[in-house]
């Protein structure tokens, strides 16, 4: 009876004990996480501070970084490009001033990044300081460059929070960034409008590949995959409806469908052997050729509408905000607000008679005007993005000296 105490204290102790236990479990979990994501290789410390670093976690972002590397090369400014893809096209490019290096694809790469010594680091990878990639105390400035005009609140939670600066293509999403900063009590990020290298690159490609006029409109059906995608929901009914219009129909299934929904895809392909099934690695040619894009809701519709300047038909817009930063904000995401400006929505009832809908999109003057308006708003500095970005990085570094 050494520990006899009064009931209030006893109960409080009990509650606290539970708290202490859960805190203990949390602490132990943290310890194991540290172990799990620690690199077995020792991190080689580079003695010198690198002035400019680009970090790319995947080769697919080369379309973001290519123009920037070219600009550094042109200005004869030394740049270091770290990639986590062994077959990143950057590695095979011929640069004199851009030092490229594959830094591994696992924890070792992040360990290396976490102890980096650099002035300005540019990256399009979200989740800095949230996942394995932590801010290095020896990096003066982390700059984020988006890989789409899309909302950045579409990143998984806290994706942008620990960057110092964001380089946007337009003003359309700066409010939501500020809103999150306020909500989370974070220091305001430096937001600059610089354009979008990826669009610049695409636009350049379009200029270099003038398209031939189609004899009849080419309708591209490029669905997404999964249970709510067009092919799964409407299947042959949608294809039949499209064939019924008499237009040229091209179906480009999502690459994932080939593995995940092979049976469904195979049966459709067997049923419509005469249809054009497109499986090109690069979607540029087919996008360039098509007059109208029918898609579920995916990033490619912005490329099609804003860069190619052609209308779209979008199907399902159901979107689970749960894992994304958008969940924390009440306001609707920008991309949902602008969708009706870029084309029309496909409803099930339209499938009985789809031609008027397609014709309206193909011929509507107002859709064309609206696309231009949206483009003006969200994509500024066309063709100048690489120059602006490098200017920004140089001035940023200059400010540290």
């Amino acid at each position: 009876m050494l520990l006899y105490i009064d009931p209030g204290t006893g109960s409080m102790l009990f509650t606290i004990l539970i708290g202490v236990i859960s805190a203990g479990i949390y602490g132990i979990r943290g310890f194991f996480m540290k172990l799990k994501y620690s690199s077995k290789e020792s991190v080689k410390e580079n003695k010198d501070v690198i002035p400019y670093v680009i970090f790319s976690d995947s080769k697919r972002y080369w379309n973001i970084f290519k123009l920037i590397c070219d600009e550094f090369e042109k200005r004869e400014l030394p740049l270091t490009y770290y990639t986590m893809s062994e077959d990143d096209p950057a590695l095979s490019c011929d640069y004199k001033y851009v030092n490229r290096e594959f830094i591994g694809d696992g924890n070792g790469a992040f360990a290396r990044m976490n102890f980096l010594k650099a002035d300005v680091v540019l990256s399009t990878t979200p989740g800095l300081e949230v996942y394995q990639w932590k801010r290095s105390k020896d990096v003066k400035c982390y700059v984020h460059i988006p890989h789409s005009v899309d909302d950045l609140t579409g990143y998984r939670m806290f994706g942008l929070d620990y960057y110092d600066a964001v380089l946007l293509s337009g003003n359309h999403i700066s409010d939501e960034i500020r809103e999150l900063e306020k909500l989370r009590n974070l220091p305001a990020k430096d937001i600059q409008i610089v354009g979008l290298t990826y669009f610049d690159e695409l636009a350049e490609k379009i200029r270099n590949n003038p398209r031939k006029e189609n004899d009849k409109p080419v309708i591209l059906l490029a669905p997404s995959w999964g249970p709510s995608s067009i092919l799964n929901r409407y299947g042959s009914k949608a294809i039949d409806a499209l064939i019924g219009t008499g237009y040229k129909i091209v179906v480009r299934p999502h690459p994932q469908s080939k593995t995940s929904e092979k049976a469904m895809l195979d049966s459709l392909m067997a049923k419509y052997p005469d249809l054009e099934w497109n499986f090109d690695n690069d979607n540029f040619d087919i996008l360039n050729r098509a007059d109208l894009l029918i898609s579920d809701f995916s990033g490619v519709i912005f490329d099609f509408a804003l860069v190619f300047g052609k209308p779209i038909i979008y199907a399902d817009t159901s979107f689970d905000k749960g894992p994304y930063d958008a969940w924390w904000l009440d306001e609707e995401m920008w991309k949902f607000k602008v969708l009706p400006e870029l084309g029309k929505q496909l409803k099930e009832s339209d499938l009985d008679n789809i031609k008027p809908l397609l014709d309206e999109c193909l011929n509507s003057k107002s859709i064309k005007e609206n696309i231009e308006k949206v483009k003006d708003d969200c994509w500024k500095c066309c063709g100048e993005s690489a120059k602006n970005i490098v200017d920004y990085m140089v001035s940023k570094r200059g400010a540290f000296e």
């Binding site: 105490i5 009064d6 009931p7 109960s11 606290i16 949230v130």
Partner: protein
């Protein structure tokens, strides 16, 4: 002390000590164990209240932030899986400055409550005063109450009452909480009922009070304006109390003053509440208080009271503080004192400092602790102990500072020091810091020196013990040839012999053949200066020794010790010597012809009494060394508060002391050092070897049976575990001597001890005489019983004569009858008496002077030294000091017991 002991002493020890002080003070005020429990419960609960409030506040904050984060946390937990979920949570927590480990922070202050409960429990559950004490309807606080009787079944009412209060309290506390919390508390209440049902009523009463307090606390926490309600209640209680005091006059004057003061103070909260707007003080700029000075001061206090003073105390006589059972180094007392001091000042003072501390409070506490530190230092170093000697129980043999003038002087100095501190603290904060640091360093250095000293002495002592225990002590006597046995009985008083012979049946018969010399004086009042002349004769009286002022005292005294061993040894006697004293080393007998030396004291094993006594002393010293430091440091007008007649607020001991002080007939232990000596006398027959083959012998036994005195069981005058002489003492209130002429009325405990141990010594030597008779060597053995000095008993009042009246009894060869010789003698006659007629030339073998020279006795004046210097001889001493209250007596004429013959020399 193992590690657990150390941690326990640091954390729980100071609290237990605090509760003991509170309880003892309450007990001292009201003499009721039950009321004292109420006082203890109140103080304890008020002490832990800030801890509780802090924990409550922290938990509320914790709950609020958890509530705020709940939506996000739930969403993250629902949306993400595995590692990503953890990473998201971590980021979310970080952005909201929340750490799940914060739960620990709230629990620390709550966990701090636990030691308080533990300390109060540890204290109450071992409290003897509760046994057989009644309180109101409770018959015995030390047993289950058994107050309820239903259909012939006896039930304990208090545990049921406690549980009821517990349930009500839980009901109020859990209002608005989920059902799980409610059930949890009710189950706990039920559990405690089962567990505590058979506990002693005192403990259950205490727990019931705690629960009542908790109930009141819970009600207040639910109130809208608890401060106002509390103020009004306090005011009401105060008014009712005052009315009660005025109408009923229940207290003594002193108590009334105190009670009225407390009751009036209880009006303050309401007054402050009503006038708080007008009382608004100018808010000073709230700069943070300097907690460094507080921490440093508490460290300095801990070092002063836990290290420096204890080491100084132990170093004054390290062997005396050694536990003779476990042989544990007395530094264990320093360790426990340091743990207590560290816990009190460094741990708990800082805990409350940080818990209570707003900056304003902290600044006041800073000043307060600095004042305490410097008052302590000044008191310890400049108001040294003038309360006389300390007993092993750390009781002063004089009462503590009774002089009013001294107290007033102390008060003035304390006030002066406080003011100086205030000025220094205000003006030169840094200076105070430096002073504390200097104090810390000085304490450590001085303590190290002390510890080194203690260690050296203890090691030497242990070595000597080891040598000792290996020896088999044998006193060889010759069956046919001459034997001389001298008992040097330290402090045995001649004047008591006739009373003891009259009182103990058959004792006189044992001493047949002895001549008793009542008219004997010694040349000093303590062994260090009195013994040399017993061993070496008139050449070694203090006066003579001081005249050879160029030789070291050590050499002169050890020379005196060697006189008889050398003389007898050179004359073909087999010489046996025991127990040198006064710091003389036994190697002085090395290489002497025919001489064997033994340490006998403490060499005889006995188990009956020793363990019990030493364990009690051990526990008490572990607690009281720190208390002693506090007593030595606090201003004199507070000393009695902490010292209370040597009980140091140990209420059981206080109770026991009161009982003992009021009488001299009862005791529950026997002094170890008495036993160490008494057992030697008792074992003498077994230690003696009588043989025809043995040559003639000279044996000199030094013994302290009459010196390290204790209460003994009468009429046998034997040690016993529990002693009760009440009836016997009543019958023997007035003692008469054998030969008439005077009476002895013992009325103090010290006198009773002295008398009883003198008797025990004579009885045991008498038994040895019987043994010699049985062995047929009585006639060829000369026995001398002598003491180095007498002792001042309370019965003798101002008469110094008993102090200088050593026992002297001589039985010569073939002597048959007991006789009394009133010739004037001194104990310096011993060498002459021992060697008379049996050595060729009775001369001091070292100086060549005759031992038979008795002319000095008939000198008109004997110079007798009075001194308080009884400690061991130091290497730098040359003469007996006449400083520190020492002086000479001039003894005229030849009647030792006539106090008119004693004249104090005034320089």
């Amino acid at each position: 002390m193992d590690l657990f002991d150390i941690i326990y002493t640091i954390i729980i020890g100071p609290l237990k000590l605090l509760f003991e002080v509170i309880y003892t003070l309450a007990y001292y005020m009201c003499s009721s164990p039950g009321l004292s429990i109420i006082a203890l419960s109140l103080v304890m609960n008020f002490l832990v209240l800030p801890l509780y409030a802090k924990a409550d506040k922290m938990q509320e904050e914790q709950n609020n932030i958890e509530k705020k984060l709940k939506r996000g946390v739930d969403h993250i937990k629902k949306t993400f899986k595995g590692d990503e979920r953890y990473m998201m949570l971590q980021t979310y927590y970080r952005q909201n400055n929340y750490k799940p480990t914060d739960a620990l922070k709230g629990s620390i202050s709550l966990l701090l409550e636990v030691p308080f409960f533990m300390a109060a429990y540890a204290f109450l559950s071992n409290l003897n005063v509760l046994k057989h004490a009644s309180f109101g309807p409770i018959v015995d606080l030390g047993a289950p109450d058994q107050m309820l009787s239903v259909f012939g079944i006896t039930l304990n009412l208090l545990p049921i009452l406690m549980t009821l209060i517990n349930i009500i309290s839980s009901y109020i506390y859990t209002k608005g909480l989920p059902a799980k919390a409610k059930v949890q508390l009710y189950v706990m209440a039920g559990l405690f009922l089962v567990l505590l049902y058979d506990s002693p009523a005192g403990l259950v009463f205490y727990w019931t009070l705690n629960n009542l307090f908790s109930l009141v606390k819970n009600i207040f926490y639910k109130l809208k304006n608890p401060k106002l309600v509390l103020s009004i209640l306090s005011s009401l209680v105060s008014v009712i109390g005052l009315l009660f005091v005025i109408v009923k006059h229940p207290f003594t004057f002193n108590q009334t003053v105190l009670v009225v003061a407390v009751l009036l103070a209880m009006q303050l909260p309401l007054l402050l509440y009503l006038f708080k707007d007008k009382l608004k003080f100018k808010e000073r700029e709230d700069k943070p208080a300097d907690s460094k000075i507080f921490v440093l001061s508490t460290i300095a206090l801990a070092l002063l009271t836990g290290l420096l003073i204890p080491t100084q105390l132990i170093n004054s006589s390290p062997t005396e503080f050694m536990n003779t059972v476990t042989m544990e180094n007395p530094l264990v007392y320093v360790l426990s004192a340091f743990c207590l001091a560290f816990g009190t000042f460094v741990l708990w003072c800082n805990v409350f400092y940080n818990l209570l501390g707003g900056n304003k409070v902290k600044r006041i506490l800073n000043y307060f602790i600095v004042v305490v530190l410097f008052v302590f230092v000044v008191d310890y170093f400049f108001f040294g102990d003038n309360a006389g000697q300390l007993s092993l129980y750390l009781r002063f043999n004089n009462s503590l500072y009774s002089e009013t003038a001294f107290k007033i002087k102390n008060i003035i100095i304390v006030i002066f020091v406080s003011l100086v501190c205030l000025v220094l603290y205000k003006l030169k904060n840094k200076f105070v810091l430096i002073l504390s640091e200097v104090l810390i360093i000085a304490s450590i250095i001085l303590s190290c020196v002390n510890i080194y000293g203690i260690g050296t002495v203890i090691n030497q002592y242990k070595k000597s013990l080891n040598v000792n225990n290996n020896d088999d002590i044998v006193f060889n006597l010759s069956q046919d040839e001459e034997n001389v046995v001298v008992f040097m009985m330290d402090r045995q008083i001649g004047e008591l012999v006739p009373y003891i012979f009259n009182e103990v049946p058959g004792l006189k018969e044992k001493y047949a053949g002895f001549t008793f010399y009542p008219n004997t004086i010694s040349y000093s009042n303590c062994t260090k200066s009195a013994l040399p002349s017993v061993y070496g004769g008139y050449e070694y009286t203090p006066k003579e020794i001081n005249e050879r002022s160029k030789e070291s005292l050590y050499d002169k005294v050890s020379e005196s010790y060697k006189v008889l061993p050398m003389l007898f040894g050179e004359n073909g006697f087999n010489v046996t010597i025991t127990d040198v004293t006064s710091g003389i080393k036994d190697d002085i007998f090395d290489n002497l012809e025919n001489v064997t030396y033994y340490n006998t004291i403490g060499s005889i094993q006995y188990d009956e009494y020793r363990g019990m006594y030493d364990q009690r002393l051990y526990e008490r010293l572990k607690r009281n060394v720190f208390c002693y430091s506090i007593v030595r440091c606090v201003p004199t007008f507070f000393q009695q508060l902490f010292y209370n007649f040597g009980a140091y607020n140990d209420v059981d001991y206080y109770y026991e002391l009161v009982e003992q002080e009021n009488g001299y007939s009862r005791a529950d232990h026997v002094l170890t050092s008495f036993m160490d000596n008494y057992q030697v006398l008792k074992a003498l027959p077994e230690l003696t070897n009588i043989s025809k083959d043995n040559p003639k012998s000279f044996t000199m036994i030094y013994n302290l049976t009459a010196h390290d005195v204790a209460i003994l069981q009468e009429p046998a005058f034997e040690p016993q575990r529990l002693i009760d002489n009440t009836d016997y003492d009543k019958e023997h209130e007035i003692r008469l001597p054998l030969f008439g002429g005077g009476e002895l009325k013992i009325s103090t405990r010290e006198d009773a001890k002295t008398y009883e141990c003198n008797a025990a010594s004579l009885i045991q030597i008498g038994n040895y005489l019987d043994y010699l008779r049985e062995e047929g060597v009585y006639d060829n053995t000369r026995v001398i019983i002598v003491a180095d000095h007498g002792w001042e008993m309370d019965v003798s009042g101002d008469d110094p004569s008993m102090m200088y009246n050593p026992v002297l009894m001589v039985k010569d060869f073939n002597s048959k009858d007991f006789s009394v010789d009133n010739s004037f003698m001194t104990n310096a006659d011993t060498p002459y008496l021992a060697c008379k007629d049996i050595v060729n030339e009775a001369v001091n073998p070292i100086t060549g002077n005759s031992l038979t020279d008795v002319n000095k006795k008939s000198d008109d004046i004997q110079h007798v030294l009075y001194t308080l210097e009884f400690l061991n001889i130091k290497s730098n001493e040359y003469t007996y000091s006449l400083e520190n209250g020492a002086y000479w007596y001039s003894f005229f004429g030849n009647d030792a017991l006539n106090q008119d013959n004693w004249l104090k020399d005034i320089k």
